[in-house]
């Protein structure tokens, strides 16, 4: 992979880390707040369904995770297992698609 592509991946990982820091903070704070009223499926869905702002927030959360995790895993695979090259990168693209797919499916179920 070219030096530029490597660097852009690095930038994408740092940028997504910044988003994730924000998302995780909001996510945890919301849980702490919401759990005070008791924690039932119906109660959660009552709050989330049909709320476009939360849907947009969690869509961003899912996409940031789908960008961030595979890039970090890419380094782990290289440094711990010596796995480099195109096969690894295609496997990680597939991993990113699975992460994004499962996450967006969850978002659509909880918020739609």
């Amino acid at each position: 992979m070219s030096a530029r592509s490597e660097t852009l991946l690095w930038v994408a990982q740092r940028a997504s880390a910044g988003l994730l820091a924000l998302c995780v903070t909001v996510h945890l704070a919301t849980i702490l707040y919401a759990v005070q009223g008791g924690l039932t499926g119906a109660e959660i869905l009552g709050r989330t369904r049909g709320n476009p702002a939360w849907a947009a927030f969690y869509t961003m959360f899912v996409l940031a995770a789908a960008v961030h995790a595979p890039i970090g895993l890419r380094t782990v695979l290289a440094e711990w297992f010596g796995w480099r090259g195109r096969a690894r990168d295609f496997a990680l693209i597939a991993f990113a698609v699975v992460l994004a797919g499962l996450g967006l499916r969850a978002v659509s179920t909880v918020f739609a």
Binding site: A3, R4, E6, T7, L8, W10, V11, A78, E79, R84
Partner: protein, 238 residues
Amino acid sequence: MSATLRVKVWRGGADGAFQEFEVPRRESQTVLDVVTHIQRALDPTLAYRYACRVGMCGSCAMTVNGAARWTCRTHVDKVANKGELTIAPLRNLPVIRDLVTDMREFFDKWARAAGQFRGARTRADDFARVSPQSAERVQADAAIECIGCAVCYASCDVLARLPEYLGPAALNRAWTLVNDVRDAAQAERLRAVAGDAGSLSCHTHMSCTERCPKNISPTAGIAGLKRAVARAALAGEL
């Protein structure tokens, strides 16, 4: 202060073993004094490397009680553990024999990191004027006193996992040149330090900064390189 030191010294190449010596304890004794005593008085076949003895040449670094150190400026007082010293060759470098490592790869990486100055002026041009207070010069000053001892290289945990990683010393050198306003090979240098084995692989463990005998912070320089390559990549200049 006890009368003698018990010193375990690595003997052999990659496959070897520690050999134990008893060395007389002296006032203001350095680890290099200990190794020299062994070679001159106890076993002349011991291989080790030194030159200046005053912390300038960078040739006497070894692993002393688990940590890479410049042995000529390391007092036994500071590192001996209950009168014991364990002295081994530097990590992350192939061992030639005993305490001598093959440093070719270490220095080849300086070249791979585009560590040579490339000027654009000729002798017909006037001197370049660089203010000592300029931001670039201040950054270069903080990094420029490297003696090439490879203590940082031996202390780097990334190198233990990623042998092709350029390492702290070569990247620190590149950082001094990135801040050299006279240098005309900046794009090429950033490409050299941006790749798979370059600055972006640094995990910021800071072992290099912790161990550098010249109190340089290669970690800070590598962070500067990360910012520089990121800016260049986003601007399409990489």
